[in-house]
Chain length 319, copies 2
């Protein structure tokens, strides 16, 4: 009989619960957006009820699952299943989330960082299939990552390994990360850097072809807006995208020197910028790595995409 | 019966061969400096003869050893035992060194990068004892490193993992590494950066108390000279040492975010700068890592020191 997996992706404004088959295909999904109004206990109750509901409507018992996998943004102490810090979810600081959900179920509940979950999903069901080692990097509002070593997630001492987004690549940068440091990869090259980067280009006198309304709030400058700019050949949008690609390429170079992996998979919203962005990432990497590459390294884009969070969470039950 | 190990450390100008006991203590050593004049075959013959000689004079048979461990600077394809590139040894490019030495012996010969060997030695016999995971960083003319994950060296696809020295931390730096890139950790914070860093301070109008002769060749500015400066409270020497410590601290912070190890061990000549240097490294690390440290991380200095290369090479036979 084929195995059904269950994954939970707990985000800041939405929570997805899905049943996934052994090939990583979504069988059913419950998606809720109302959990932000609830306190910790309320949100946990909702998660537990929705898991029970999705099992019921698919004629499944708890015992049909190998476990329940949960992914959540933030620093997670994996061993204990505790959220140490999270900027996405109100409350939940030093919160034993795994235990709280576990109290509603008999099968094992696993909690990991959302980027780790996505990395494992990519390894099991996506571009990582057939590899024993890989690094996954997700680039959206922030930058998260997960490391697969010898077919397993490498989590480090606490469970926070793979935080390549916090690697400092430009110590004197004007760009400050949410962590408080200057010039993290995340500060320079993801969603949260875009308003500053775009505004800087305008300050340098560059003209954008994007018809932004005069009262446009620059803090709303996003990957989507820049994608429109890219599609209409806006030079400012293209430069910002290229700058971001440069830093990601440099980050990948540092990861290459650190871990020498055969595969790096990129996920997250900004990969929608497409070809020119990816080309900038790759060309930067190859310019830096040159004759220090002795075996082919593959740099590719996630192919589990949209539901990567919940599929990855489900994959954790196969680790 | 206690095991005797044999290690070979092949450097640019010297070659050490040693017998080491199970606690990492040197039992006997043959040290030769004349191998630079020989071609590849000549040097290999010399290594093989010296191994046989050290066995003979200690009344040992080949079969008393678990193997022969060799450490060598450069990029090594571990699986095949091939030196891919090395800047220290003339010749030896794409050279199957392991096989060449193996042809003289029946017991297994192991070849790895010298920093990997030292890392494993530190793990087996030094500050890493009792840890399952650690990162070793050796800071001398260059910067090398080795990663221990789950009691074994993590080598990556080719065998070149752990090249944290080539991690770029200052992309616009004036300092260029031997690899050709700007602002690698190695370019900014090791022996080869010292002449530039010292000269820059002088150009900024800073006065050194070091009594350098008027014809002093700045390219000879070394860790030892700066140590003298440090001991005589020379402000320029102190600033250069502090700048190097800053970059090493930043590099360790990046390693911490990447691998979240419980232990980082520092080795190499520049650690002889002592307390103030180590304090700068640590204070930089802790200022950057702040509230992102959830479990204690130990940052300490190698305690196998002087013979780390050959002891580490011997340790490889225990992996």
């Amino acid at each position: 009989m084929s195995k059904t997996l269950c994954g939970v992706d707990i985000g800041g404004t939405k929570c997805s619960i899905a049943l996934v088959d052994e090939k990583g295909q979504i069988l059913d999904k419950i998606y809720s957006c109302d959990h932000v109004d609830k306190n910790e206990e309320g949100r946990i109750k909702m998660v537990a009820e929705n898991i029970k509901e999705i099992l019921r409507r698919n004629d499944l018992q708890e015992s049909d699952l190998p476990g329940i996998g949960m992914g959540c943004a933030g620093h997670i102490r994996f061993r204990d299943g505790v959220i140490l810090t999270t900027s996405n979810l109100k409350g939940f600081k030093n919160y034993p989330l795994r235990e709280a959900v576990q109290s509603h179920f008999k099968i094992p509940v696993i909690l990991d960082n959302d980027a780790n979950a996505q990395a494992f999903g990519e390894y099991k069901f996506g571009a990582g299939q057939g590899f024993d080692d890989m690094v996954f990097l997700t680039i959206s509002t922030g930058i998260g990552a997960g490391i697969i070593i010898n077919k397993k997630l490498y989590r480090g001492m606490t469970g926070t390994a793979g935080e390549f987004g916090h690697m400092i690549v430009e110590p004197d940068s004007e760009l400050t990360c949410t962590c408080g440091n200057r010039g993290c990869l995340m500060a320079c090259a993801c969603g949260m850097a875009l308003p500053y980067l775009f505004e800087q280009k305008l300050k340098e006198g560059k003209k954008s072809r994007l018809n932004l309304p005069p009262d446009f709030n620059m803090s709303r400058m996003s990957g989507q807006v820049l994608k429109q700019g890219l599609d209409m050949d806006d030079p400012v949008s293209k430069e910002v995208i290229s700058d971001c690609g440069y830093y990601v390429g440099l980050g990948i170079y540092n990861i290459f020197q650190a871990l020498n992996p055969p595969l790096i998979v990129l996920g997250g919203g900004l990969t929608n910028w497409g070809e020119s962005y990816l080309n900038k990432i790759k060309s930067t990497f190859y310019e830096l790595a040159r004759d220090m590459i002795f075996d082919p390294i593959e740099i590719t884009v996630s192919n589990i995409a949209a539901d990567a969070g919940v599929i990855g969470a489900a994959a954790l039950t196969l680790e």
